[in-house]
Structures are given as C-alpha cells and as structure tokens.
Amino acid sequence: MPMNKKLLLILLIGLVFLTGCWGKVEIENRGFVVGTAIDLEEKKGNGKYKLVMTNQLINPAAATTPSNAGNAQKGFMNISVDDESLFAASRKMRQLTNLIPYYQHLKVILVSEAVLSQPGLFTDVMDVFVRNHELRRGVKVFVTKDKANKILEYVPEVEKTPSMFLDKLANNGKNAGLLEPKKIDRLQNIFIYERSYFVPRVKLENNKIVYDDVVVVQGSNNQMVGILNAEETKGLLYITSPTKGGSIEANFDGNSINVETTNAKTKIKLTNKDKENLAFSLKVNFEGSIEEHYGQANLLTEKSLVEIEAALEKDIKKMVERTIEKVQKEYKLDVLKFGDTIRRDHYDLWKTIVDNWDRGENYFSKSTVDVKVEANIISTGASNRIKQKGKRDE
C-alpha cells in the first residue's frame, strides 16, 4: 500500500512536467508593438468600414544602441494591414513577420480624424484595445490631423521611435504647457457615461511633430465636431489642469514679461440653480514666478507687482473666456466638465437635467459663466536687477 502511494506521488509530480510550459514565448521572439495607428481606408456600403492598422515594431538592435551619424538604421519597422476589424488585421500581421506581435508595451494609439468623423466608429475601434487582456490601461490615445501612419514614420532625433517620442513628449513635466493625454481607461469611462470630451491632436508640420491642439468629440455619437486651436487649448489648460499651464507672457511697462506657473488651482461652483439660467463661477488662483523680463524697471516693488498681476489676470481671463465661449456657444458640448460640478454638488438637480445637459434642451449652452482670476507673483527670479537705468557707477 505505501508503495502504491509513493508511485502515485511520483506520477502526480510527473504530471506537472508533462503539461509543458504553456504560454511560454522567449523575449527575443516577441515583436514589441510600441505604437498603433488606425486609418480609415474606405467606407463600405453596408455600414462597414475598411480600416488600415499600422503597427510599429521595435527593432531591438537599433533601438537600444546609441545612434551615430554613419549608422542610420531605423529603430523600428512599421507593418500595415487592412481589414474590416482590427483583431483580424492584427492576426494577419503574424504572417508578415517572424515575430509575434506583443502589445504589453504599447505606448500610443493614433487615430486619424477620418475615423473620428464617422459616427460611432471611434468607440468601435477602441473596443479591441480596452477589451484585450494584453493591453495596459495607460496607453495614450492621440488623434492625428492627417493619416495616422504618417506620424509613425517620423524619425525623432533623440528617441529611437516616434511612439516613444510621443509617449515621453506627453509626459513632459508640469511646466511644459502641454495637455495631459487621454488614456484608454479614461476613454472607457467617458464612453460608458456618454460624455462629450476632447482628445489631444498631433500633426506633422515641416517634418516636426506639433502637439498643441485638441479635437472636440460629441458624446452622444462619438463623432468629432471640431477643434480647439492652440490658443484655445491654452485656455482649456487653465480650466482642466491649471498646474500644467506652463509659462504665460504679459505686458508690463511696455515691455514683455514671462511668468511661469508654479502653482495654480481652478474652482468651478454653481451659483444659480435655476435650470433655465444656470450660472457658474469659475475662479483661477494662479501663482507664478517671473522668469524673463525685457526692460529695466525694478520689479520688486509693490506697485510693479500689482501691475504685473493685473496684467496677468487680464490675459488669463481673456484666454479662459474665449475657450468657454467657443465650447459653449459654437460646439455646445460640455468638454470642460461643468456637468461634473453639478453632479457632485447638486445631485438632485443633476438628475433632472442630465438628459438635456449638452444635448436636447442643452442647458449647458444656456448657462452663464463668471470667470475670476487671481494672480500672484511669488518670486521675481534669482536676481531682481540685471540692469537698471541711472545706476551707472559714479
């Protein structure tokens, strides 16, 4: 009897080894996809679309060695496949390369404006990226002005691949004055609640990547309605993520002065609860330090500081109001999350207006927003005076 049991134990242990190593793929056999571009090739009659999926695969040999002038080997290779569905396209790619496409290191998804201009297509396209277990939730999504796969062909100077370049560009510090990118986990949330939203846009201009404006998308059918240009996007920054405001230029004493955001906060409050005349107050608290000054005035006086602050307040207010104006009156879509304020603070009211918030009756476009800015200069830089009139050595 004990003999049998020992045998059973040995057989059981053997069983573990018999199954082999399922799911095992050595790292060198993986084709790391770092960027994916999705373009619309043509619209078929029966409500289906022909999509082009372009995957950017890493070429490890070139992507990890430092580049020198003579050796201009590209750190990536792009593979394009067209199909009606992205998953089928991804499967087709296996036939084109000996590597198995591997999406866990995917950094960016680029979707062309053409895709967004079709109602509902954007959500359908994103479905596979949200659903697939291999993908991370933090993949950044960008809209491209022209063909998305053109961006993937851009060869950046420092980074090895355009995808990594975009990934790092969007992460670039709080003072860069750049918008936070939309990640797929955030998009899923937006899709579910049918919110209107904006997605940052990238475009190629003079063979440089430009990342300074956003696309506004209607929540009800996920169709793009327009863009906010670079200036309006700056105003958007002060409303949605003020600390990322970057630097702002103001006029003082006839000369320009550059102030960098050190800290900023924006508060939105509902001040009138009447459905038809909703009124919001938006207050921007801005703190900055002077980084550059053309001119010779002494900045470290009560009078000049107050003057600079007033100039700043005026400029910021103008920017913010322009953005609100455009969003409210032209697009009539609440991408600024005013609705969130009501939902959070006045839920009963929100329940009565949610279906007509930025659609139907569109209470959002009927509401008024009172913008207040309070600017505060906390420092004039490491040195106040670089030069000053009438202080020549006597």
Binding site: G20, G23, V25, E26, I27, F32, I58, P60, T64, K107
Partner: protein, 516 residues
Amino acid sequence: MARTSFFNRRKMKTSKSKQENQIKTTIELGTNLADNLKNIRTLLGEPGDLIIRETTLGETDTKCAIVYLSGLVDQDLVNNNILKVIQSNINEIDTNRINEVFQQIIAITDIKKGTKFDDVINSLLSGSTLFYLDDMDTVLILGTTGGERRSIEEPQSEALIRGPREGFVESVHTNIALLRRDIKNPNLRFKSYEVGKKSKRTIVVSYLEGIINPTLLKEVNRRLKSINLDIVSESGFLEQWIEDSFLSPFPQMINTERPDRVSSSLLQGKVAILVDGTPFALIAPITYSETLKSLEDYYERWLVGTLIRILRYLGTFIALFLPAIYIALVSYHQGMIPTELAFSIALTREGVPFPSFVEALLMIITMEILQEAGARLPKNLGQTIGIVGGLVIGEAAVSASIVSPVMVIVVGLTAISSFTNPSYSAGIGFRMLRLTFMIAAAILGLYGIILAYIMLNIHIANLKSFGVPYSAPFAPTYFSDWKDTIIRVPITMLEKQPKYMKIEDSKAKSNEEEQK
C-alpha cells in the same frame, strides 16, 4: 487510511534506542598486577603509545604500575605529581593501601576509583592515567587529560569586524571554560553525556537554570538519550539525529563557533550542545528569523544594525528569487519589464540558442561548481578559481553567445546575495530552494513561483524546532518579539527574553517550586 511513513516525519525511532554506549568486554579486574597489565596490552593490541611504568611504592616492596597513553596526557603532571610522589618516601602501607594512596599521596585533584575494567579502559582512552597496585582489584583513575591541542583562535567561519576574537576549540573543557567566563552565574548548568557505541564522546548540554523552560530541557534530554550512533565525531551527527524534520531544507539548530553567540542564546532560555572534538556548538531551539541574525547587529548601534538586517533580508530574497524571476519575466511576462529594459534584454538574448531556463541553469550550476571548488581548494590556488571563474566563464560565455550579459549580472548578484546569510548551513538550504523556484518559474512563470512560495510557506509554518514554531514570532504572532526580527530596536528596549520561548511559564513554575 493510515498515513504513509513517507510523510510521517515525526515518528521517532525510540524503540530501538536501548542504550549500548559502553564498550563491552568480558575481562574482569584481577588482583594480580602482571595479569592486569597483560589484559590491557592484549586488549589494545600493544600499541606504541601505551606507556606502562612499573615501579614500587616508595621504599616498600609493593609493586605498582602507572599506565597511560602518551599524547593524551599532560606529561608534566604524570611525572611530577604522580611518579615523583610515589617513588619518594613511603615506608609503611596499611591494609587499605589503595585508599591511602588515593587520599594522601597522589597530588592530583581529580581522582576516581575504578572497579570495572570497562570503565577503566574508557578512562584510559580519554586521557586518564591508571594507577595499579599489586594485590588490589581496584584501580585509581587519575584525571591527567592534556596533550597537544589547538589553542584558542579567532573563529574562521564567523569572523566579525567588531566583537570578541575568541572561538571555541576542539576541547569541550576549554569550551565550557569559555562559557563560564562569559556567564558568571551559579545557575549556569553543564550536563554531560557519553554518547557513541564504538567510541564514546562527551556531549555537554548547557543551559541556564531558572530561565530555561523545563519541558524544553526534558525534550532535549529525551532526544539525546535516543542517540544510537557508532561515533559522534562532529556536532553535525548529533544535529541530524535529534532534529525535528530531516526532509526540511532549513536547519533547525544553529551551529556556531562563537562563545558570545552561545551565551547570548543561553540567556534567552535556549539550550547549547557542546561536543568534544569539534569547535561547533549547537543552539536550539531556533526560529527562521534567528538564522538571519548576526551578533554584530547587536554590537553596532541600532540604526546600523537595523539597516544591515534589512539588507540581509533583501539579500536572502534576491538569492532565493532573482534567477526565478528573471526566467519568469523573460519567458512569460515580458510586459512586466520596463519598456527600455525589455528591448535591451531582447537584444542581448538575440543569438543565445537556449531558452532562458537552460541559460540560467547553466550559469547557476557553473557558479555552484566554482563555489564548491573554491571551498575545497588550498588557499594559494584560490586565485586560479577567480581567474577561471570570473574571466573565462563569465566573459567568454557571453562573447560566445552561450549566455546573455544580463544573465551574468543576475547570477553574479545572486551569488553575492547568498553570502549575506550569516549562517552557512542556512545558506546551503537556500541554494537548493533557488533551483526549485527556477524550475517552478520555467514551468508556470510567476504563477509557478507563487505556487512554490506558498508551498514553502506551508512547510515553514509546519516546521518546529524543539517545539518552537519555526515561523515564530510571525506566525504564532508575538508582537513584542518583532522588535528583534527585521528591525533591531535600541538595546535599551530589548530587556525581555523572547516570548516564543515561553520563559514566563518556567519562571512561574520555578517560583512555585521554591514556595513548596
């Protein structure tokens, strides 16, 4: 259904262990001196180191003989305190002569009377001098144990930067003296056993009366009595005989050469077992966290001590898991490697013909071979190992694309980390476990590592060292003992003995006994 004996590791072989420690002979002590001496000669096979000096008691005609084994005795003692006094003026000897010699003449403090030939011969073999007197069937056993032994040196296997430089030696008497010097306390107890069927060894159990838990002492004594070995030439024999689980990769006793380590353990209510002939003493019971403690943690200031301890835990973790994690990440979970690192690992593995498991196995086995070869090599050949191991195998294997450079880093880090374990015996266990984890990682990736880790934890939770849970003070939770585990709090807060030793019980009991 009865459990199979395969798993039933607690079963003790007590039935067989009827003591047969004595060397049995059929020879009896006679009254004739010449016959007695002949008996000894024939029993030992007339060896060259057997010295028999026949003489007469002083100026009388009474014949007597001194018998000893040269090399085992203190020659000066024999010459000055025995031979000289016997040969000097003794005129009359009364009927009860042996008593007189015993009481008055011989100038040695440690004197016993021997009436059994077996006792006598055992004493002779352990360095005593025998004194025979004609017409008597009683022999005097004179404690003259001495001879050349190693002097006290710094411990080789447990060198500390700060701390006493004295280490145990092979003589158990010297070792006892070293402990006595450390703990000047009347409650310090040394209990001797003679163990071994073919050759007897002195084993000394040391403890502090009043601090030790009586049940622990009883258990230690029970286990020691069950020993049924031919010879106990090292404390390792003893350890393997009395340990709780012989299938466990973890040592259930600590061996140490340091008297200060033993005395600090005794003060915590533990038992130390000293074996004659080896400088390694055993400390029991221990817990897992004990194997990662070094005395230097206490000798340095507490912040330093804590930092070093945390480093040691980290080192153990690396030594155990790093190759396995490397295999799991590179073969299964490439998504968990930071992007840039993943690319460079992919690049370095380009051209390596083996899967990462084989690659890791090759390097780990190479490292183990180097380690083993280095340990056995004479000191002046040690450099060769360094050159062959580091340069030839490390460098060349990479340039020949047999292994990737990252693998060399992993193996190197693992090797260095495994030396952070202050206990060599515990370190060996980890070397075995490391292979297990690597296999688990190769089969099932991180999932496999976790499975193997759970199994290991189940084993640790199940393991006991002389009744003390191996995972204490974590698994039976004694929060107050956590002060001296991963962190080491200031010495002013470490007044109390560990709770898991159940010392309170013993104190209460001894108090009761005193009242009675």
